[in-house]
Symmetry: C2
Subunit: 237 residues, 2 copies
DNA sequence: TAGGTATAGACGTCTAGACAAACTTTGAAT
DNA sequence: ATTCAAAGTTTGTCTAGACGTCTATACCTA
């Protein structure tokens, strides 16, 4: 690489890396070349490469993890936590393609926790849905949902078909429902969750615990959702 | 200076400089110690000092000018350019004390430019007000205003008394007025303006040219304002 | 097989020195 | 006194090298 005069070398390297990213040479989430590889590629000192990388980190284009490498920062999705926010609406509002995949489903007896949130007796049969929410094929969140089985018999097939709980609820005569409570915490994901999110186990997830109620205030869903903290930012208003 | 383990030296230097600033050792606008002075003071390499300074620049606490030195960044005031923005409201909204000082006033005949903006015949008698706007005693802007003399006879005394054009207009029965046009440019200040702004002549100012009209749409004021670009940032919405 | 350890890979910090670019000051010439 | 050029000051960039810290992986041991 030859340098044009008048612009510092590190700025030209920054520019080139930025071009690489927008050209898709390094896709969002990808590991970039290591510092030493960039040193060889551009034929400059390591510090010069680091100066360029620092600028990219500063402008939030890449993220550097000590001992691991530099990664192209995924565009972080702002996820407003309103009482009526719907995943698909938010994602398509950002011109990204939403998808919700069912990983597994099961009918089982409600544990004390689930029973409490759904306001049913412990041991009542509930449907457990385990699903992954994606935008443009990139997983953003994994959700575990519990629904009273008696009321929503056969909802699994509808969910798989429509890929939307909102739509499935409609088939059961629920045109409107809203978020009752949301609790937020940050944890490290289990290996299963990390795997489904396609993210490292040492990157944290944002966990929300929520209860949805129908217009009469009766709980229809209790769910725990783990958001990839690298890809989603929760907005509380 | 001795370093505590576990925290990088440059971060400790950053911390110390931050403390110096908040302790008033370096006041806003002041020139800080040069890199070499800091090198001697902290007994580290120049690059280590520069790393600390870079962090301070990044967090907008100091501003560095090549060949001149580092200066404590004055808190920049966001000045929204709406049709009804009033200087005193904006400043007191930021918990700072506004003041508007009249430097000079004169009655003279309108030049072609002034006449055009005020929609009067050239040669019409107009009042020229030259004033300085301050926040907490720090000058933010100097303004030259032209008002039709016939309509606003005696307004100068009211302005001096109330330190507010808005208030003065009220005494003339104008309870409501709004900004009609604003043109924005950046220039270097004349020595007089630089002096009044207490800023270096080689630091730019933001100039706005505006016309205020009463509720009937009749021009009541034409003004040129020079904002210190180090202390004010104009916001257009 | 499980668990700990050693090792290599990768980023973080610090030092040292040289030269470039921007700015200020000084001093000589007019 | 003013102007202009030279010298000095101050920050910006680049190179070079050493060592620290963190991570991942391979290997050894129980």
């Amino acid at each position: 690489m030859d340098w044009e005069p008048g612009l510092s070398i590190w700025k030209q390297i920054e520019k080139q890396l930025l071009a690489d990213i927008s050209d898709g040479v390094f896709a969002p989430g990808d590991k970039m070349q290591t510092e030493m590889e960039l040193v060889r590629r551009f034929g400059v000192n390591r510090h010069t490469v680091r100066r360029a990388m620092a600028a990219l980190v500063d402008s939030n284009v890449v993220r550097v993890e000590q001992g691991r490498g530099a990664f192209v920062q995924e565009q972080i999705l702002d996820y407003p936590l309103g009482s009526k926010t719907r995943f698909s609406q938010i994602v398509s509002g950002r011109h990204r393609l939403p998808d919700k995949r069912l990983v597994s489903s099961e009918v089982l007896k409600a544990t004390a926790t689930v029973a409490q949130f759904l306001d049913v007796k412990p041991g009542t049969r509930v449907i457990e849905l385990f699903s992954v929410s994606e935008a443009d094929g990139v997983p953003l969140a994994v959700a575990t949902s519990y629904l009273p089985a008696a009321r929503f018999d056969g909802i699994v097939e509808i969910f798989v078909e429509t890929k939307s709980l909102t739509e499935a609820f409609k088939r059961f005569g629920i045109d409107d429902y809203s978020r009752k409570t949301t609790r937020i915490s940050a944890t490290l994901p289990s290996s299963r969750v990390a795997n489904l999110l396609k993210q490292a186990r040492n990157r944290p997830v944002i966990s929300t615990e929520s209860v949805d109620v129908d217009s009469a205030g009766v709980p229809i869903e209790y769910g725990v959702t783990a958001f990839s903290s690298d890809r989603v930012q929760l907005i509380v208003e």
